[in-house]
């Protein structure tokens, strides 16, 4: 069963959204959740975070935005709810309790006069419990009602990708209408460049040509400096409708400079673009490999 869902950058999450983040690593979590919390705090929205961590340890805030959220927690704009008060019963995850807690928090936020409230929590630990997957799924189903009931709440449910098997991931994904991702590195209405984490790389949408090469070069450079353990950089091109010869040259040059055993992988090339590269010959782009094919989306 394929479920329709929207992929939305965190900057575009709106009230009524019940979003899902299966983060691959700390960097992705920092970027999405850090931006989510920061955007709320900086625009006078309420933020409710079910976590045992102190304010200054919340993902992404200090590292990305340079703020210690403790003062916000002190005045109540940031509401940190420890797990044992929000969602545990006898030391185990209790989905019903979580839903009740969050409903109450959303109602309070409304009464306090906030025009929006952002809710988030990391449920990786709950998945690891016996029968954890089923409980988290039942929680998520209830979440829909809780969040879309009013007009002021938006939620991101976080899970660390490595904690789920592919089936669980699919089931959990199906309980959400929105998948949240990082904000794009670049977007000028013609070209959008977004970091991807599973697989590691970039997603390019729109048209890439000479005038837009700088942001592309910058994005690639940032990737390779973080490369460390990764020997393949993936470019998701399913929504790239045009790439010029200069940019292909650039890809070839970039791939050449990668260390031995590394590759730049082009995934989901559109058939008409792929056929042109076939015509030119992939040997003109040494170090560039053809990845998965998926055609149009």
């Amino acid at each position: 069963m394929t479920t329709w869902f929207a992929e939305r950058p965190v900057g575009e999450i709106r009230p009524g959204d019940h979003a899902w983040l299966a983060y691959t690593d700390r960097e992705e979590q920092d970027r999405v959740i850090g931006d989510f919390v920061f955007d709320g705090l900086s625009t006078n929205e309420k933020v409710v975070y079910v976590t045992d961590s102190p304010a200054w340890e919340l993902p992404g805030l200090l590292a990305r935005h340079g703020i210690d959220a403790t003062p916000f927690a002190e005045v109540g704009q940031l509401r940190l709810l420890p797990r044992d008060r929000a969602c545990l019963s006898m030391g185990r995850f209790d989905p019903d309790r979580l839903l009740r807690t969050l409903s109450q928090e959303i109602d309070s936020s409304f009464e306090e006069g906030y025009r929006a409230v952002r809710v988030t929590t990391d449920l990786s630990w709950a998945l690891r419990e016996p029968d954890g997957a089923r409980r988290v799924v039942s929680c998520e189903s209830g979440f829909e009602d809780t969040v879309s009931r009013g007009t002021i709440a938006m939620a991101i449910c976080q899970v660390e990708r490595a904690h789920c098997n592919p089936d669980e991931l699919q089931v959990l994904q199906n309980t959400h209408e929105v998948l949240v991702e990082v904000n794009p590195e670049f977007d000028d209405g013609v070209l959008t460049i977004t970091r991807t984490f599973a697989p590691y790389g970039l997603r390019l949408e729109g048209e890439l040509d000479g005038v837009r090469q700088s942001p592309f070069v910058d994005a690639l450079a940032k990737l390779s400096s973080l490369q460390a353990r990764r020997n393949r950089i993936h470019l998701d091109l399913r929504r790239l409708s045009f790439i010029d010869l200069g940019s292909l040259n650039l890809l070839g040059g970039f791939a050449l400079r990668m260390p031995a055993g590394h590759a730049l992988v082009l995934d989901n090339l559109r058939p008409d673009v792929e056929q042109v590269i076939d015509l030119m010959g992939w040997h003109l782009l040494p170090g560039v490999a053809r990845g998965t094919s998926g055609g149009l989306l």
Binding site: E207, D209, F242, L245, N249, M280
Partner: protein
């Protein structure tokens, strides 16, 4: 490893086989990869005469092999390069197709013959080009003399006195004046560095003549490359013109002109980039993607005309 590029003018079956058979056998003995590309009749005769050895030779029909000048050249050079890396040679009996081609195409294929002398240099390839004296116009035979350093004559191989420097020959093709732009051509002045709108314009035009898919992509990539060069290295005004030409075969023609005088290195994208030193493949790629690319440059300005055959 030296290139051998030889023309074989022949007037009957006997003359054809007299040279091609020993040429092929020599190649087999040397461990070359041997290809025979010619017309049906010659293929049959050569196959028959080679007997058991025929199984070691790859046979192709000229009509299927000589489809596109740059692409055919690129594929052959690539094959020769790969073989050379292992100390082997490419040995080709290659009879180009001349009939049923318009004058522009004929000129391009003649230029390919000239460029062979540069593109295959150092690959140790042996290329024997049969030209049928009974069937070909004098102009084609004449150009064959100028593009092959060697000729099969009197049962042996002789240097060809008429041989011309490949770049000089290529120049003669590039000096033929371009026919004028037809009055009904669509036109667009290019003054923005962002070529997104240029591509939209070309897309719309392409749609009107049912040009789509990868062929449309070829056009868009070529137009972007040429327009970008004109903006970066040329002088304004930079103009684009588009029309459909139906004189010989139906083709979409796109011309980009600017007021600058371009002095390119010899070759102008005519030679495939060397495999060991991949470099910017701009104009060479444009030649691969379009059917024919014509470049005219001088003090009055530079014009690049792209032709894409449309079905």
């Amino acid at each position: 490893m030296k290139l051998r590029h030889e023309v074989l003018p022949y007037a009957d079956d006997a003359a054809f086989l007299e040279t091609t058979v020993p040429f092929v056998r020599e190649g087999l003995a040397a461990g070359d990869m041997v290809l025979a590309v010619t017309g049906d009749r010659n293929l049959e005769r050569l196959h028959g005469r080679l007997g058991g050895d025929a199984g070691l030779v790859e046979f192709h029909r000229s009509q299927e092999w000589y489809r596109h000048p740059a692409r055919t050249l690129a594929a052959c050079v690539r094959q020769a390069d790969v073989l050379a890396r292992y100390g082997r040679g490419l040995r080709l009996v290659g009879e180009p197709v001349w009939h049923g081609r318009g004058p522009l195409e004929v000129a391009e294929w003649q230029r390919v013959e000239a460029i062979v002398n540069v593109a295959f240099a150092g690959t140790g390839a042996s290329i024997l080009c049969p030209y049928d004296l009974r069937a070909l116009p004098l102009s084609v035979l004449d150009s064959a003399r100028r593009t092959h350093p060697l000729a099969a004559r009197d049962g042996g191989t002789q240097p060809n006195p008429g041989f011309m420097d490949p770049w000089a020959f290529a120049d003669t093709i590039d000096r033929m004046p371009l026919p004028p732009v037809p009055a009904e051509a669509a036109s667009l002045r290019i003054d923005a560095a962002d070529l997104y709108w240029l591509r939209q314009f070309v897309r719309e035009y392409g749609k009107a003549i049912a040009l789509e898919g990868w062929e449309l992509q070829c056009l868009l990539m070529s137009v972007t490359e040429v327009a970008m060069n004109a903006l970066r290295h040329g002088r304004p005004p930079v103009d684009l013109r588009l029309w459909v030409d139906q004189q010989t075969e139906k083709a979409l023609v796109c011309e980009i002109s600017n007021a600058g005088h371009w002095r390119p290195a010899p070759g102008m994208g005519l030679v495939p980039p060397a495999p060991t030193a991949p470099s910017r493949f701009g104009l060479w790629a444009v030649r691969l993607l379009c059917s024919i690319v014509q470049v005219r440059t001088g003090r009055a300005g530079t014009t690049v005309r792209l032709r894409l055959a449309v079905s």
